[in-house]
Every structure is written in structure tokens, then in C-alpha cells.
Symmetry: C2
Amino acid sequence: MGKFHAILEAIRPLDRSKQAAIQHKLDFLTKPQGSLGRLEELALQYALIKGTLEPTLKNKLAVVMAADHGVAAEGVSAFPQEVTQQMVLNFLHGGAGINVLARHNEVEVAVVDIGVAADLKEHPNLLSRKVAKGTKNMAQGPAMTREQAIQAIEVGLGIVEGKKATGLDILATGEMGIANTSPSSAITAIITGRPVEFVTGRGTGIDDQALVHKTTVIEKAIVINHPSHEDALDTLAKVGGLEIAGLAGVMLAGAAHHIPVVVDGFISGAAALVACKLKPEVKDYLMAAHCSVEIGHKIILEHLGLKPLFNLNLRLGEGTGAVMGIGLVEAGVKILTQMASFETAAVSQAAS
Amino acid sequence: MGKFHAILEAIRPLDRSKQAAIQHKLDFLTKPQGSLGRLEELALQYALIKGTLEPTLKNKLAVVMAADHGVAAEGVSAFPQEVTQQMVLNFLHGGAGINVLARHNEVEVAVVDIGVAADLKEHPNLLSRKVAKGTKNMAQGPAMTREQAIQAIEVGLGIVEGKKATGLDILATGEMGIANTSPSSAITAIITGRPVEFVTGRGTGIDDQALVHKTTVIEKAIVINHPSHEDALDTLAKVGGLEIAGLAGVMLAGAAHHIPVVVDGFISGAAALVACKLKPEVKDYLMAAHCSVEIGHKIILEHLGLKPLFNLNLRLGEGTGAVMGIGLVEAGVKILTQMASFETAAVSQAAS
């Protein structure tokens, strides 16, 4: 049995045996019950995943997967394909949005070349795990083989398992890949059963005419490849992307190893659809950061039953929303572990 | 002319002369234009208030005003009045929600006794600025005199001006005061013109019957005192609270001294209504953190044209939402000042 199948076997439903004890602790902190709302929910979920009333949160990692897409040749993006590799260099030099926001939240960034369509120079901060120099054009045939999709998922597993050895408490997902909203829309349409036009947006900023063209290209890719909506691996291979597969692997590994995963925007959301289709129990280990401007993201969040934390109108990707989300999870964990109780602080409780 | 009138005179409309330059800088950072959404809006507002393309954000202060309310005698709160002073001690010992979340966001907390109905022991971290031992019961007559309201506003001014001397870049507002959602609902009803029942919620957690009673008490307070909706000082004095007045003072001082103020929940929102009614230009210096579960808060935000940043279902007060909001403002400022541009990072731009 390969790594991919082994990790699916290793994922267990969330152990809720400590839920009552964690909730009791939250309820007797010096505040009206439930008055810290979603921060308390995040604390509960985090503590359940860790299986303790006194969880710690120190080692924070954003995994940013970069890959190219054959479908870029169809003119579906506002930016040229070379931007993928240019932005990888920007990540390595610390000048991108994800770098700034990761530093703000004290999150380490792992930059992964899982499928950039260029030979990138070695760099001490670059994890070179190239499965292929980009996918093939899904509008003309399958983007990947099934074996490539599994290989890319296993890249995600390997990165999480490697970091786990030196301590890893929480993960954020991020990506870079010109044209990658197109495969994300295709995956979303297939797994949620919604029409392509309802899950296709402007990506980095295309105009009305280009949006119609993009929608047509995605519909064509689905017709040509007829992916099975019951077989997430088939969908992923035929109309997905290498970074999407890698991020699905990160989520599977997070669930298997009890490491919560904060999911970024639309592309990460498409990876979450795949991971949860492969193993529905993964969902209990995921947290949604924000709801992207990209219209398909709301449909993904509803489909998975995840509630966004921010109203920030983000649509950058890279993991920018997810690292901000880690900041909120951390706040929730500190509420659980650092606040005084009514008893220790000698504060009177509400009349019952 | 007293301090109160002098500060109103000192407030100027936001200087927008650098807006085009700041927006240009944001637009040429290595991301699709506008793709960091509200974080970019926060960065723009902060930079405009500071009047520079390279703003810094280091000295962060949450002003937490504590006071009691005569109207507590009407049984409008789920908690007994003694909780106000108990929670002040909890703030001083660092065990409350505001302490935990302020530490998380590296925000200093100033705990102010502006009107607690008890003699509090001296404490190195307590600012003793008591105007009165709580307000009078507004259901039987005016909560304060006009002079007391001005005095409480000037407490807020004094705290900001005192801290400004040693460096102060941004403010958050917070409060503690058993029964203080009742005066906040009264102020909101009067200034926004909405019926009391539309702006009155469960506070720390009263049941249906108590909510009906609370609404009746607030309506009675308005009928008895007939505050003028055109004269915010009259409204504040007759149906307000000392901490609400103090926070209005913090907002006026922030606007006058170009220090952005992140406004917390419903009670802070009522203070914002007063401050903006006194001087509409204050609004440009305010940022909303979250939208509270307390129903009147949404009406306040709409009335002021402020958009919340979080979906966190908070209803604790204390400044908990506001210090989390400071974390987002800081993220926005770092985007503006730390990200690489297309030019410096040699990244290709979108086809125009």
C-alpha cells in the first residue's frame, strides 16, 4: 500500500470525548457564556484535535505550493504564465503578501515548487518537489495522469511529515499558479454539482468578455474529460492542478496527524473539496479563514459546512487569508489557556 | 474655553491630499490591484490619518473605561452590579478576555475607573479618574448632569493626551459596566431615530421576559428625560453613562491628534454616535472592528457608515474586538510598507 492509501486509512473521526470538559472550562472563564463567539469555537475545535484542555500553539507553518497550468494557453488569466516563477522568487526574497502577513502572524512559510513550468535555481528556502513542468491543457485532454495526481498529493504528505518531526502545531495552505482559478472552478462545479458559470469568477482580474471565454473553456474541459464526480482522484487528475493536489495532501496529512489546517481561499477550497471527497472525516480538522471575492468560494464553504472568520474581501491567494486565520485560532487558544475563571478571579456569576 | 470645546475646534476633516500617492503605491505592490481588499482600505485610511506613505505602527493602546449605572437597580442585567468592580480587579491582574487578546496583539491596556460605584484600592495599573460613583437611575431622572458628561469626556481627552506624550500610534476603545447596554440602547434609539425595541438586546444574557422589561425601562427613561436628539451632550447626560462619555472623549482626542481609533462593540458604538454627532468629522478617524451579536450595533454601524472586519459573533465588550481589529490594521500597514513592488521584484503586470 502506497503512502497515499496509507494516509487515507490513518484518518480517524475527530475524538470528541473531551468536548464536555473543554466546553465546561470555556463556560467558566470570566465572561458571559459564549460571549467570545467564534474565538471560543476555534478554541474548542483546536483543543479537540489536540485532545487536551491545555493545548499549546507554537510551530505554525504555511505551505505555499506553486505550479503552472496548461490551460493558461487558452487565455483564461489576466497575467502571463511567467508570473508564477517570478512570484516564487518574490516569495523566496520575502516581498510578497504572504511573506508580510506570515511574518505579522509569526508563521513560517514553506515555498514548494510542485510544478512550475521553468527550471528554478536552487535556493535554501525553496523545496523543489516538481512533479511536472505544469499540467497539460485540460481543454484538450486530461491535465494530469492519475499517477501524477497521487504523486503530487504525496508531496503534500511528505512536507507535513517532514516538518512534523521538528514540531508542527498548525498548518495554513497557500498557492501560486497563473490560471489556477480555472481548474478550481472545474473541480468545484463537478464536486458540488453546480453549473460552471456559478462557480467561475474573475481570478486576478479579467473583464466581462474574458470571463465568458474562461467559462466556456472550463465547460469544454469538463465535456472533453468527463471526470467522475464520485471519484475525486479522477476529477483532480483530469481537471485539477499540481498545487491543488499537493494542498489536498497537506490537508489529508493534517487530519491524519491531528494538525489543524486553516484553509485559504478559492484554490485551497478546491483542494479541500478533493480531500473531503476522498475522506469526509478530514472536514473536522479544517478551519476556514475568509470568504474570497471569487464567487465559487462561497459555494465551497457552504458545501463543506465551513464558516469564514473575516469580511476582508480578499482575493490574492498565496495563503494570505489563512495566515491571518491562524492569528485568530491562536487568540482562541489563548482565551482557553490564559483567561481567569470566575472562581480564581472571585467574580460573581449571572443569576440563573 | 474649556478643554471639551477646544478639542471640538481642533478636529479637522481628514486631509486627503496624499490619497492618490498612497493608492498608487498600493496598486503597484506585487498583487492584483485591490486583491487584499479591506486590508488595503485600512492601510489607506491609516496612512491618510498619519499623512505619510511610510507610516509606522508601534505604540498601541486600549483604553478600557469602567463605570456603574443607576439603572442597574431596575434589574436590566443578568449580572449583579458588584461584577463591575470585580472585573476591574480581573483586568488589573491580567486574567480577563481583554488582557489575553491585548497581549496577543501586543496592545497596552489602560484600565480607567471613571465611575465605579465602589472605592477601589490604588493599583499601579489603575487610572483613578472617578467622576461619580456610578450614574443615577435614568428611569427616574437624568443619569448625569451636563457638567458631569463634559467632565467624563475630558477624562478621555486627558488619557489620550497623556499617553500621546510618550508615543501613541493607534487606540482601541473598551469598557466594563454592568447594565451599560441599557444606556447604549437609549443613546442609539435617540440618535438614529429607531424604536427602542429595535436597538435593545440581551446584553450579557437575559431571557425573553427580562428583555421586555429592559425595553420598557429604556422607553421610560427616554419619556421621563426627553433628551434632545439634536444635542448629543443632552442625550449623553440624560440617558448615557460615564464610560460612554469617556470613550466619546477618547474618540474626539484621537480625531484631533490624528490617532486612529478602532471602535469595539455596542457600547463603544454608542460612544461613537455621540462623538460623531458632536463633530461629524470624527468618523474619518474611526475604524470598526466587528459587528456585535447585540442587535443595536448593526444599526450604529450602518448609521455611521462603518464596515465591520470580523464575523466572530462577539458580545463581550471590554475592547476585545477592537484589539483584534488593531491586529488587522497593523497587517494592512505592513502590506503598504513591507511588500515589494512589481518593479523592485521584477514581476510582470497584468495585460491592460
